[in-house]
């Protein structure tokens, strides 16, 4: 006869267990994720690669402003791609663990917020360090470069949040990992490249009409376009702005144009994450 463990009496919780009390779910999960950051290869690889790019551009161009402009495509293409792919892969990789966490006395909305922040904050921090550190150790840039540096870093961080939210939305809505990855890649492709083609098509097709207002509305539909506009508005390289950005710049000027684009980007930071949270709350696991 096999002996039995003297497990603690579990039958009558009100007498045995202390009353359940609210726990800071977001802080708890974030702290754990943060401690595990040194083992997160994806985030570390992204940070190191971005840092190497930034360092190389600074050395090659010899100017902070030119290096930041050269890094424009890195910010507009690589940051969304990495945020999207890491977000989807992490979601599917941790799905069973997420289920385990959901069996604990935690609210789904709180857990979602924790998982979302645990996904985007390390990437955003990695980006800030990777762009900011080389700028600093090459000597603090001239004050005139600060708006461009801050808009580059701010836009990169914003895109991390936008595409992190989109990644979770796709991961939660599409069960199959492969289809999820494909949906993520398609979304990235459309927003990073395809959308510009659409804008160009609309602008050439309706060239005889006054398109300024529709173009500004169209620009709000693309966070990458918004980020590009914010960055380029603070540089002298207006040619990189794109059609919609140029329209915004012409009609609203640098300050108001940047503020409008920033508001648009803020909307993009909130909306996909909010939709993902709703999907998470309603989902059957």
């Amino acid at each position: 006869m096999i002996g039995e463990f003297p497990m603690r009496l579990a039958g009558f919780p009100s007498e045995v267990l202390p009353p359940a009390r609210a726990t800071p779910v977001v802080r708890t999960v974030l702290t754990r994720e943060w401690r595990g950051l040194r083992r997160n290869r994806g985030v570390l690889l992204f940070t190191v690669c971005t840092l190497l790019f930034a360092e190389s551009f600074l050395r090659l161009t010899g100017s902070a402003e030119r290096a930041l402009v050269a890094m424009l495509n890195l910010v507009l293409l690589l940051v969304p791609l990495v945020s999207m792919m890491l977000g989807i892969i992490s979601w599917h990789g941790a799905r069973e663990f997420t289920e385990l966490l959901l069996t604990q006395p935690v609210r789904r909305s709180r857990l979602f917020l924790a998982l979302y922040l645990a996904q985007v904050l390390p990437l955003a921090s990695g980006f800030v360090v990777a762009i900011g550190a080389p700028l600093l150790w090459h000597g603090i840039p001239d004050r005139s470069v600060w708006p461009l540096a801050l808009s580059t870093i701010g836009s990169g961080v914003a895109l991390t949040f936008v595409f992190g939210g989109l990644a979770l939305l796709i991961g939660i809505r599409v069960d199959d990992r492969l289809r999820s990855v494909v949906a993520g890649l398609m979304t990235w492709l459309v927003l990073s490249i395809g959308y510009d083609a659409l804008v160009l098509l609309v602008s050439t097709t309706f060239a005889d009409y006054a398109l300024e207002r529709p173009m500004m509305v169209l620009m709000l539909g693309n966070p990458v376009d918004l980020a590009r506009t914010i960055i380029v508005m603070h540089s002298d390289t207006a040619a990189l702005m794109g059609y919609t950005g140029a329209v915004l710049h012409r009609f609203l000027g640098t300050t108001l144009g940047s503020a409008s684009a920033a508001l648009g980007l803020l909307w993009w930071m909130v909306t996909p994450a909010w939709l993902a949270c709703r999907a998470f709350e309603r989902r059957d696991f």
Binding site: I2, G3, E4, F5, P6, M7, R8, L9, A10, G11, F12, P13, V16, L17, P18, A20, R21, T23, V25, T28, V29, R32, E33, R35, G36, L37, R39, N40, S90, G93, A94, R95, E96, F97, E99, L100, L101, L102, T103, Q104, P105, V106, R107, R282, D284, F285
Partner: protein, 252 residues
């Protein structure tokens, strides 16, 4: 026949759930009592996992209620503090160590909550608790999983294929822990395809078939109803012959 003098810890009433138009659970009702080990068996797709997940709040029922200690669980989370769950798949984020997992679960339940580390010690988890999940074998992760389920002296233990991936020694340790929990007054629910293991552990059998309860009652009653001498034979008969459902229900 098992008579329970206490009110059930969990009462499931009229539970229905459909996925993509396909009925997975249909007006299912059952009680889970303290101090009893209930085995939920049935063919693949019978609704075993969905039933467990509905009790855990992972799946939202289309209809029906689940009462935990007499209170409706709909929209509540506090009852989960009294549940220990051991999923079939023990997967953790690769950046987490076993210690991270146990600490995170402890913190989510509330700091200062007493931990029952009987299984942590019995499984000698200390040896690999600080290794990242990617460096752990399936069996090691499953042991951490088991220890996590028992960690907070739950009133209800939901164990999904608990010994899958465990070596015979670890499996024996877990079975002793399951009996210990039952004797301490815990309601234990096991879903497993290893019927010899269920015969060894279970007090009550719930046979699910196409989302409905085909038979439920004490293990001995099932043997009497089917004339089988092992649980494997009895369940095989239940799966093959619809007529036994009626005989079993009558005897239960």
């Amino acid at each position: 026949m098992i008579f329970h003098l206490t009110t059930p810890l969990v009462s499931v009433r009229g539970l229905s759930k459909r996925f993509d138009g396909h009925a997975v659970l249909t007006e299912l009702s059952l009680d889970l009592h303290r101090g009893a080990i209930t085995a939920i068996v049935g063919p693949n797709g019978a609704g075993k996992t969905t039933l467990n997940k509905a009790i855990l709040g992972l799946v939202r029922p289309d209809a029906g209620t689940i009462l935990f200690d007499g209170r409706d669980t709909a929209g509540r989370i506090d009852h989960r503090a009294s549940i220990g769950y051991m999923p079939q798949l023990a997967r953790y984020p690769e950046t987490f160590t076993g210690r991270d997992v146990l600490s995170l679960l402890s913190e989510l339940r509330g700091k200062g909550l007493a931990r029952d580390e009987t299984l942590v010690q019995a499984f000698a988890l200390e040896r690999f608790l600080d290794q990242p999940a990617r460096a752990l074998s399936g069996g090691q992760r499953q042991r951490i999983n088991a220890a996590a389920a028992f960690l907070f002296s739950p009133q209800l233990l939901l164990l999904d294929e608990p010994t899958a991936g465990l070596d015979p020694v670890a499996s024996g340790i877990l079975k002793r822990a399951i009996r210990g929990a039952r004797n301490a007054g815990c309601a234990v629910v096991i879903t497993s395809h290893i019927l010899s293991e269920l015969q060894e552990l279970a007090d009550t059998i719930v046979f699910l078939h196409e989302g409905r309860i085909g038979w439920q009652g004490a293990v001995l009653d099932l043997f009497n109803a089917t004339g089988a001498s092992t649980l494997e034979e009895a369940i095989a008969q239940l799966m093959q012959h619809g007529t036994l459902v009626d005989r079993g229900s009558a005897s239960a």
